[in-house]
């Protein structure tokens, strides 16, 4: 083996690597990771919005305090129209608080 041509040894090495079977989990891992990432992002957004809503609603005496946009509220699955009008509009945008 000492007389082996180095480039031949290199080619043999890459051939051997090419025979390693591909992991069957790659497909599912990729898909599941993607799905999980989407789910985690949506879940995290919902939690943040829900916590913010709780904090803001509990802080109603603190005066004007731009909080959540209508879009964020709708993303959290809440009904913005259920809120009193003075809590819906401020400075041309809709705010909760």
């Amino acid at each position: 083996m000492n007389d082996r041509d180095p480039i031949e040894a290199l080619e043999s090495y890459y051939r051997e690597l090419g025979e390693i079977p591909i992991p069957t989990l790659v497909n599912r891992r990729a898909i599941h990771w993607w799905e999980a990432a989407g789910g985690i992002a949506a879940g995290a957004a919902a939690v943040v919005v829900a916590v913010s809503i709780c904090l803001n609603l509990g802080n109603s005496g603190a005066g004007p305090n731009p909080g959540l946009t209508e879009h964020q509220v709708r993303m959290a699955g809440l009904q913005i129209d259920a809120l009193p009008p003075h809590r819906r509009t401020q400075g041309g945008r809709r705010w909760l608080v």
Partner: protein, 162 residues
């Protein structure tokens, strides 16, 4: 029959290929590139996953997905090589490694990441010079000289290693 999930189809309604089909079609191609460059199955799996996820994001915009994925995988694998210490890279996949392959892996680890990558792409994958140039971010006209230099470096270190 196994149900085929298509979680990305609602994001890319114009794509003609479901995400499952996309992954199934290209995962071996991407994995082989990543494995050739890194020499390690665990790193290759990471590169494969990252590359396919990026591919899924851009799926509908890709004119030549295979080429795009190959280049992205090679670039990501090269980045990993640059980040890893040589000793760690020298521990290439030990699963079926005879003595000579260990020597090859140890010799490769002494080369620069760029030389390791150009050897992997040119010898293992049958890449064109244009594809190699794109993956390495170098002019196509310099690929031949870089490849020659990489082979010379390998020969030099192989002699020391033996």
């Amino acid at each position: 029959m196994e149900p085929i999930a298509a979680p990305m189809d609602w994001i890319h309604p114009r794509s003609s290929q479901s995400s499952d089909d996309f992954v199934r079609e290209y995962r071996e191609l991407v994995f082989r590139v990543a494995l050739a460059v890194t020499g390690r199955r665990d790193l290759a799996e990471d590169v494969t996953q990252e590359t396919l996820l990026r591919g899924l994001k851009h799926q509908r915009k890709l004119e030549d997905p295979a080429r795009w994925l190959k280049v992205v995988a090679a670039k990501r694998a090269l980045t990993l090589l640059k980040q890893k210490p040589h000793a760690e890279i020298a521990e290439r996949d030990p699963a079926t490694r005879p003595e000579e392959s260990i020597a090859v892996a140890q010799t490769l680890a002494k080369l620069s990441p760029e030389h390791q990558t150009i050897l992997a792409l040119s010898i293992s994958g049958g890449w064109s010079y244009e594809e190699i140039a794109e993956a390495l971010g170098i002019p196509a006209g310099t690929v031949a000289s870089r490849l020659h230099a990489a082979k010379e470096a390998f020969r030099k270190h192989w002699g020391v290693e033996r």
